[in-house]
Symmetry: C2
Subunit: 328 residues, 2 copies
């Protein structure tokens, strides 16, 4: 085998995905294993190294076939230093030099990337962002992640902390956010925010086929349930998605007014609502974005689903390897 | 004379400034003339060409001593095409190829730049932003302008429309903005917004030494008057500036959370309030910016005052000229 492969890793709070990706963007193989995020970070890294070994032997690969590992991790990172500084989803990962630790375990070069940035890189490379030089990729899951591509490169900011669209303020005195602040976008448009707003509306007496959820303790309300009821025509559920779109639109129009990007990509579990979410979002962005009368607004659903993160993590390996080669 | 000079121009709604700047950033000479913005744009450009000629002869310069003209203009531009597409402050400037027109009038190369971006470039080059790779420069005047510097270069966005911080949404159902939308930052923190909020508070019965302004039709309230009363200890006037800082802080913290910049520079007439504005802004940004516990927040008053625009416009000439030279 002559074509080198990269290994892309997406460390989530629940699962870790490990993928083999070739330089043309083909996903050669993928493996999913539980994170067990409450364990010591060294054990989690040990599991990752084992998973890498397993995936490589499944594909009859040796270290010579692999040019490196891209590690997509959540939380606050120092990317050049290869350190996870702080991560709410990996409680034991505080100031941990994950790059050197994983390098030692695998004897392969490792690059670190923020998970939301990795998703943006993946969608830009092989997904909905192909051909856009400047884009935002927002992931609506339990929380809200986001990553920017400017001039075809990911934007890290001065301290690798860029991309926290979820913690921009939507309503200065609004709902509490789990970050400790009030009125963050995440408190409204994440899966958690959708559940909170639905519960508040039900408690305020809104008529809805979702009312049963309030009385069944073992049947907790989820964003998926709200979506399913909306699909079946429930008015409250539909209104919740309309409202989610209009809230999201405020943040996205702000980004467009600030940065004038070509494309906004919406991914994550909440984006599975498709047109139910995207249509009201596009409508409300057009009302608030100054460029609307001049240039079209491109707001697209993500294309790579759960694979965006591993694809982007793998891409960082190709980019940084060739960057180093060309700078010698 | 061997050192080449650039001419930087700042076209405002009231005045046009024309400056001679050398490559080290020294302001060799400056001239200010009224815009008469309601006249035909061709007459305005003719005046600019005359002003350039006057300034050059005052300094005994011929065309050989000048490497080009940087034209900082307000409104929506197409920078590469050299066109002002639309400009609320220059009503006759619609789809006008100002670069080719001014080139013909002066026989000098002309580069176009947005006025708020020119101020950012100026502050980055010779003002409060020196040494910062990534910054936002916000100008609080009659309106709110802003420009980004990323990796030491100005950010134009995909269509030269980046930097509209003034029209990001602060309160989705808030005060009317002159752009036709509701709740824009500009409606709150511009000089106009400060006057509006003070008037609303006075009409609602707030006790203040500013109350006289409501009864004197020929003595209209201004942001400067609110500032002067605040300096003299008037409680309402002080609260208005505290509130201005806290509103501004929401937008600035959003920018920091999105982009993780090193420095934010606040300029324009409202920034003359100094600590009265900057102190509450810094306080409130620290509460909303995620990076606050990790990295310091640098929020600085602009240093170049009314010269930021001409300095930045001149710098674009040096940058684009040397860029072209090095790319041959």
């Amino acid at each position: 085998m002559h074509t080198k492969l990269a290994i892309g890793i997406d460390v989530g709070g629940t699962n870790i995905r490990i993928a083999l990706v070739d330089v043309s963007g083909a996903l050669v193989g993928i493996l999913k294993q539980p994170t067990h995020a409450d364990r010591e970070i060294h054990h989690i890294l040990g599991d990752i190294a084992q998973g890498i070994g397993k995936l490589m032997s499944m594909h009859n690969l040796s270290r010579q076939n692999v040019c490196g590992i891209g590690l997509g991790a959540p939380g606050f990172l120092s990317i050049q230093a290869g350190v996870i500084r702080y991560c709410p989803n990996l409680p034991t990962a505080r100031e941990v030099p994950v790059v050197s630790l994983l390098q030692r375990l695998t004897d392969l070069p490792v690059c670190l990337e923020n998970d939301a940035n990795a998703a943006a890189i993946g969608e830009h490379w092989m997904g909905a962002g192909q051909g856009s030089r400047n884009l935002l990729c927002i992931t609506l899951g339990t929380g809200v992640g986001s990553g920017f591509i400017f001039n075809d490169r990911v934007w890290h900011g001065s301290n690798d902390l860029a991309g926290e669209l979820g913690h921009t303020t939507l309503f200065p005195e609004g709902l509490s956010c789990k970050c400790g602040r009030r009125g963050c976008l995440e408190a409204y448009v994440s899966a958690t925010g959708i559940v909170t707003r639905t519960e508040l509306a039900l408690k305020a007496g809104s008529d809805s086929s979702l009312a049963d959820f309030l009385n069944k303790p073992n049947n907790p309300l989820s964003a998926l349930a709200v979506y399913e009821h909306a699909e079946r025509g429930d008015r409250l559920a539909r209104e919740i998605f309309e409202e989610t779109g209009s809230y999201l639109a405020i943040a996205l129009a702000n980004v467009l007014n600030l940065l004038d990007l070509e494309t906004i990509i919406i991914g994550g579990q909440v984006a599975h609502a498709g047109e139910l979410l995207i249509r009201p979002t596009i409508h409300a962005v057009a009302q608030r974005a100054l460029r609307a009368p001049y240039y079209p607004i491109r707001i697209l659903q993500a294309q790579l689903g759960d694979h965006a993160g591993v694809m982007g993590a793998a891409k960082t390996v190709f980019d940084r390897t060739s960057y180093q080669a060309s700078s010698i």
